[in-house]
């Protein structure tokens, strides 16, 4: 799936968890520039992504992610046929 499509797909999930109905995400979105993206919200986001795409992350895969764009790349890799 195209990275822009994944980001659009993730927006309502993030909006719900971060309680921001008008949230707009970009590849540069991260915990440092999105309000409410704290450590507990991060766990909720990761779990929601796992359920949405039926994938599993290892902690090592998540620790070095710098922003949403890198997360999307990881999702693309894990959902590739």
């Amino acid at each position: 799936m195209d990275s822009a499509l994944i980001i659009r797909d993730l927006e309502p999930i993030f909006a719900d968890i971060l309680d921001q109905s008008d949230l707009r995400l970009t590849p540069e979105s991260s915990a440092s520039n999105v309000e409410g993206w704290d450590s507990l919200a991060h766990i909720n986001l990761i779990v929601a992504i796992e359920k949405r795409y039926k994938i599993k992350f290892a902690l090592g895969e998540l620790q070095d992610l710098k922003n949403l764009g890198e997360m999307v790349t990881l999702i693309q890799r894990k959902t590739a046929p």
């Binding site: 507990l40 766990i43 990761i46 779990v47 796992e50 599993k56 992350f57 290892a58 902690l59 895969e61």
Partner: protein, 139 residues
């Protein structure tokens, strides 16, 4: 007290216990919460409102979900992250409640489990259901 570690946990794992709602619990909960609504403390008021007697505090019965996580599943290493609870029926003093939960999701990266939980009364009717999120700490 159970002491399950992350590696012990599998999907479908379940636990349950029974507890009787007592008048003393109601008194203690009213004191600690400050909720002195007569629906919970005055039988006549509750009957006039259409209930069989005073109604147990919803968050008193919800506190048994805390016991489910902290004592039974996973037990000692639990750290409660959240509970989404829905009340279905009132509970009353003297009710014998069965609290049960089942693992429905495991997030390996952050070692967080999700439980689908229920509280049933002695007639087998569900008084509340809950989705519970809990971390499993390293001891």
């Amino acid at each position: 007290m159970n002491d399950y570690r992350w590696s012990d946990l599998v999907m479908g794992m379940a636990a349950q216990f029974e507890v009787e709602l007592t008048a003393e619990m109601m008194t203690c909960f009213a004191a600690l919460s400050g909720d002195v609504n007569p629906l919970h403390l005055d039988d006549e008021f509750a009957k006039a409102a259409g209930f069989q007697s005073r109604v147990a505090f919803g968050l008193l019965t919800t506190s048994f979900y805390s016991r489910l996580v902290g004592v039974y599943l996973p037990g000692k290493c639990a750290l409660l992250h959240g509970i989404d609870v829905e009340f279905k029926l009132p509970a009353y003093i003297g009710d014998r409640l069965t609290v049960s939960g089942e693992v429905v999701f495991l997030n390996d990266a952050y070692r967080r489990l999700e439980l689908k939980a229920r509280i049933r009364n002695q007639a087998g009717n569900v008084i509340s259901k809950a989705a519970i999120l809990a971390g499993v700490r390293e001891p």
